[in-house]
Subunit: 557 residues, 2 copies
C-alpha cells in the first residue's frame, strides 16, 4: 500500500525556514518566523527588492474538474521542484487552504504524494492566522454597520438593503440564512441576513489583489456595504471601517514562506473563492516571488475556463503581470470521465473514452491561445494509466501544436517532472509569449460577459433579464464600467449544467444576477447556483479527527 | 504631557525572546517563535520540567472596580519587575486580552505606563491566534450540532433545548439573539439561538483549566450541548467533536511567552470571562511558570469578591495550586468613589471620602484572610494623590494587621515597586500561608452559593426560586454535586446592585438562573444581568484606528 500524504510529509527532511530563505538570498531578519518552518516575509525586505528585474511567471491550470481529480496543486509543486532540479532558481505560489472544509470531506490542500508543501498539518489548520484575520476584519465591518443603525442611522442605511453579510471559516449551513438583532430594543433592529464562508468574503478578494497596505486600505474603503432608500451606495469608508480593518490585516498581508518536500521555496498566501471571486493566490506573494526567483509557478482555481480566465483577465490585468507559459493539467482518469465513463470504471483501460474526453482538453488549449500565452499539457500520471491512453493524449495535442508531457511527481517528486520543467523553460525561451487579456477595459460590462461566454465557454451567447442589464448600465453610469467581470459558473462544465462534460457548444449562459465587488474591483456575474456557505456531510471528517497517543493528528488527511 | 502607553512601548528595548528564555534557562528550541518577540513554549520542554520543585505563587487582586480604574494588570507587571529588581527569579502570568472590545472603547490590556508587556500591539490584536483557535473549536461544535439534526437527528436532540450557542471575538449586539437555518429544507431546521463573545465560551474556560491536551480533550467531551425531549443531556462527545476541537487547540494550549518593558519573562495565556467563567489565566501557563521561576505573580478578573474567590475556589482547588501571598490593589481615586465622590471631582484631595471608601478595601482584606493566605495592599499611586490620602489608607490597613505599600510602577517601573516586592517576599518567607478553599467539595450546591454570598459578599443570604433549587438538586443527583460554584454577579458591588459602592451588608443575593459548565467543571450561579455579547458604543474606537504613513498603528491605545 502506498504511503499516505501525511505519512510522506512526516518523513520529510524539513529544514529551518531560514535555510530555505538563504537559497533566495533572503537574510534571516527578513523572515518573521511562525515556528521553525513557517515565516512571513517582512514588507521592509520586499520593498528593498523593488528595483530588481522580474522572473518568469508560469500558470498551472487544468481541464474541467471531475470527481476523478486532476492534481493542479500537486503539479504546481512538482513543477517547482522540477525546475529547481534542472538548476533553475524557481519558487511556487499557492493558495492557502480554507479551514472549514477540512472538517467536512477528508483531505488536505497542500499537494500530494512526493509533491507537497510542508508543514502540511499547519498549512491546513490555522497556518499563520491569515484567514482568521480576514474573518475578524470582515465581521468588524458587519458589526459597525449594525452599530451605526442602532445609534441613530445617520447615513440613512436601508436595513433591507444591507448587502454586507458576516463570515466564518466553517462549513455551517445553519448560518446561510438568519435573522439577527432579535430580543428587543437593546439588540437593534431585526433584519434578515446570513453568513458566508471566509474565503467567499470580498475582503479575501481584496487581500489577494492588494498591492501593499495602502492599496489594501483604499480598496477596503471602496466596498459597497449597503444602500439608502434612495439607492445611494454606502461605502465601507462611510463607516470609517477601512482603518481598523487594515490594522487587523497588516501582518496577514505579508506573504507566507514555506518549503516543498524537496526543500524548495514556496509562498502560500491568500485563497479567494474561485467562483464569486478570482481564485488566485495573492498579488503580493506573486510579485514578491518574481523578485526573488527566476521562475515562479502559480495556480488558479477550478478548470482553465474559470481559473485561467480570471487569472488573466482579473489578476494579471490588475497587477500588470505578464505570464509567459501555461501548463494545463490533465489526467487519463478525468478525460475518461469527460468521455462518459462512470467513476467506478475508471480503473479499466479505455482509449476510446480518453479520445472522446479529449474534446474538453482541446477547448482549454484553444482558449489559452486566445490570451497569447504558449501552453504545454502536463499529464499527471496515475499508476493504472496505460501507455495507449497516454499516447492518445499526446497524439491529440500534437494536432493542436502543443506538447503533452507525462509527469510522475506524485510518486517520484522532481524526477517525475524533469521533462515538463525542460519543456516549460523551452516555451519561455522561445519568446512566444505575448500576453493580452481577452477583452478591453472599455468594453461595456454586458459585452464583457458575452465575450467570455462565447470565446471561452463556446456558448452561443449570454442571456439576462432586463433587470440584470439595467443594473449593469447603472454601474457603468456610476463609473464602474471599466471593471472586469468575474464569472460565477459551475466548474464542472463549459456550460451552466454541471452534468454536461466534454466540450458543449452553442448553449446559452443565463446570467441570473450580478453583484458589484467595488473594493476588489470586479463585477460578479452569477450563472447558476452559487453556494457561498458549504454544509457538512452526513458523516463529516470531523468524526474521525483526533490526536493520537503520540500527539499526532489522525483523520485529517 | 506624559507619554502614552503605546509611545512608551515603542521606545522599549525589546530583546529577542530567546534571550528572555535564557534567563529562565530555557533552551532556544523550547520556543516556537511567532516573530522575534513572541513564542510558545513547547510541551516537550515543559514536560521535562515536571520533576522540578514549584516556585511561590502570588495573586494580584483588587478592591471593587470603579470607573476610576485600579491597575491590576499594571501592578502585576510592576511587581514582577520589582521582584526581578531585588534579585529574585520571578515571572508573571497574565490573561490574554479579547480582540472585540479593542474596537469599542479605546485602551489596551497589557499594563500601562512603565509597567507593560510587549509587543503590546500584537498582544492586543491577534497575538498568537489562541482566541481564533478557540472561536474555531467552539463553532465547529455548533456546526456539528446543527449538522447532526439536519441529517436525521439520531441522538434525538430537542431543537428547543440546544444550549450551545456560537461565538465571535467581536462586540456585536446584533448577534445576541438570532434565528438560524432559515431559507428552506437545504439549510436545516430554523431555531432561535445566538452568539456570545469568544471569551465567554465554555471552551475558553476549559482551555484555561485544562492540565494538558489529554485533560483538554476529556473536558471538551464532557460539555453538555443540548437535551433530548426527555431531558437527557447530549454531550459534546456524543457528536465526536472533542477530537477535532482538540486538534484545533493543540498549538494554542502552549503558553505564550513574552517580556515586560524591563525584559523580564511573562506568560500571557487564556482569558476567560470573569463573570460566567473564572477569569484567570491558564493553569498550563501558571503551572509552567512555577517550574521556571521562584516567584510567579498572576492576576484574577474584577475585584477580589469575584476574581480572588474564583481563583481560590475554582482555579487553585482544581489545579492543586497553593498561593502564598495576595496583593490587593487599591487607588486613592477608586476609594474616593467608594466614599461617594463623583468621577469629575476625583482630582481634589478628599481624605474623608477616602476614609469612607476604605470599608470596601476592609471587606476585601477580611475576605482574603478566610482563604488562609496573607495579604498586602498595593496602592497604585496617581500623580494627584496627596500624602494625607495615602497615609489614611496605610493607617486603616494597619488596624487590620495588613501593610499598605505605595507603588509607583506606572511612572517609574520596577523602582516604584521595590518596597512592595520586598514586602511580598517577607510575607511568603513568614510561612503564614495555609491556603484552603472557602467551602468543601461535599457541601450541597446551594449551600456553596450561600456560603459565598454570606462569607464574601456580606449578604444575609442567597435567595432562589424553587425551580433553581430543583435544578441544583437534579445536577447533584446526576453526579455534579462536587463541583464548585462560579458566581456571576456585578463586579461593582458586594451586592447585586452595581450602584451600591463601599461595603453593603445584610442584603439578599437573588440567584436568577443556574447553568452547568460540565466541561469546565463548575456550576454558574447568575445573580443579576449577565451580558455575554457586548455592543459597540456610539462612537467606537474603531473610528479612529488606522495605520499612519510610517505603518504604525494609531488610535488603538
Amino acid at each position: 500500500m502506498p504511503k499516505s500524504d501525511i505519512e510522506i510529509a512526516r518523513e520529510a527532511n524539513v529544514k529551518p525556514i531560514t535555510e530555505i530563505g538563504a537559497k533566495l538570498d533572503m537574510p534571516a531578519d527578513a523572515l518573521m518566523q511562525y515556528g521553525p518552518s513557517k515565516a512571513k516575509v517582512s514588507f521592509e525586505y520586499l520593498e528593498s527588492l523593488k528595483s530588481k528585474s522580474d522572473g518568469k511567471l508560469i500558470l498551472v491550470t487544468a481541464i474541467s474538474p471531475t470527481p476523478a481529480g486532476e492534481g493542479k496543486t500537486t503539479t504546481t509543486v512538482g513543477l517547482g521542484d522540477g525546475l529547481n532540479r534542472i538548476g533553475k532558481k524557481a519558487m511556487i505560489c499557492l493558495r492557502e487552504p480554507s479551514l472549514g472544509p477540512c472538517f467536512g470531506m477528508k483531505g488536505g490542500a497542500a499537494g500530494g504524494g512526493y509533491a507537497q508543501v510542508v508543514p502540511m498539518e499547519d498549512i491546513n489548520l490555522h497556518f499563520t492566522g491569515d484567514f482568521h484575520a480576514i474573518t475578524s476584519a470582515h465581521n468588524l465591518l458587519s458589526a459597525l454597520i449594525d452599530n451605526h443603525i442602532y445609534w441613530g442611522n445617520e447615513l440613512g442605511i436601508d436595513e433591507r438593503r444591507v448587502s454586507w453579510r458576516r463570515v466564518l471559516d466553517m462549513n455551517d449551513r445553519a448560518l446561510r440564512d438568519t435573522v439577527t438583532s432579535l430580543g428587543g430594543v437593546a439588540n437593534g433592529f431585526p433584519r434578515q441576513t446570513g453568513f458566508d464562508i471566509t474565503v467567499a468574503s470580498e475582503v479575501m478578494a481584496i487581500f489577494c489583489l492588494a498591492d501593499g497596505l495602502e492599496d489594501l486600505q483604499k480598496r477596503l474603503g471602496d466596498i459597497v456595504v449597503a444602500y439608502t432608500r434612495e439607492r445611494k451606495p454606502i461605502y465601507c469608508r462611510d463607516l470609517k471601517a477601512e482603518g481598523p480593518m487594515t490594522v487587523l490585516l497588516k501582518d496577514a498581508l505579508m506573504p507566507n514562506f514555506v518549503q516543498t518536500l524537496e526543500n524548495n521555496p514556496a509562498f502560500i498566501h491568500g485563497g479567494p473563492f474561485a467562483n464569486i471571486a478570482h481564485g488566485c493566490n495573492s498579488v503580493s506573494a506573486t510579485k514578491s516571488a518574481l523578485k526573488l526567483a527566476d521562475y515562479v509557478v502559480t495556480e488558479a482555481g477550478f478548470g482553465a475556463d474559470l481559473g485561467a480566465e480570471k487569472f488573466f483577465d482579473i489578476k494579471c490585468r490588475k497587477a500588470g503581470l505578464k505570464p509567459e507559459a501555461v501548463v494545463i493539467v490533465a489526467t487519463v482518469r478525468a478525460l475518461k470521465m469527460h468521455g462518459g465513463v462512470a467513476k467506478d470504471a475508471l480503473g479499466d483501460e479505455n482509449v476510446d473514452a480518453v479520445k472522446k474526453g479529449l474534446e474538453n482538453l482541446g477547448r482549454h488549449i484553444a482558449n489559452i491561445a486566445k490570451f497569447g500565452v504558449p501552453a504545454v499539457v502536463g499529464i499527471n500520471r496515475f499508476i493504472k494509466d496505460s501507455e495507449a491512453e497516454l499516447a492518445a493524449i499526446q497524439a491529440f495535442t500534437q494536432t493542436l501544436g502543443v506538447d503533452a508531457v507525462v509527469c510522475e511527481h506524485w510518486g517520484k517528486g522532481s524526477e517525475g517532472t524533469e521533462e515538463l520543467a525542460n519543456k516549460v523553460v523551452g516555451l519561455i525561451d522561445s519568446g512566444k509569449a505575448d500576453f493580452k487579456p481577452l477583452y478591453d477595459d472599455a468594453l461595456p460590462l454586458y459585452d464583457k460577459i458575452n465575450t467570455v461566454a462565447q470565446q471561452i465557454y463556446g456558448a452561443e451567447e449570454a442571456v439576462a433579464d432586463k433587470k440584470v442589464r439595467d443594473q449593469l448600465k447603472q454601474w457603468e453610469d456610476a463609473g464602474y464600467g471599466h471593471l472586469p467581470v468575474c464569472m460565477a459558473k459551475t466548474q464542472y462544465s463549459f456550460s451552466t449544467d454541471p452534468n454536461l462534460r466534454g466540450a458543449p457548444s452553442g448553449h446559452k449562459v443565463p446570467v441570473r444576477e450580478v453583484r458589484l465587488s467595488a473594493g476588489a474591483g470586479f463585477i460578479v456575474a452569477i450563472c447558476g447556483e452559487i453556494m457561498t456557505m458549504p454544509g457538512l456531510p452526513r458523516v463529516p471528517a470531523a468524526n474521525s479527527i483526533h490526536l493520537d497517543e503520540a500527539g499526532l493528528i489522525q483523520g485529517l488527511f
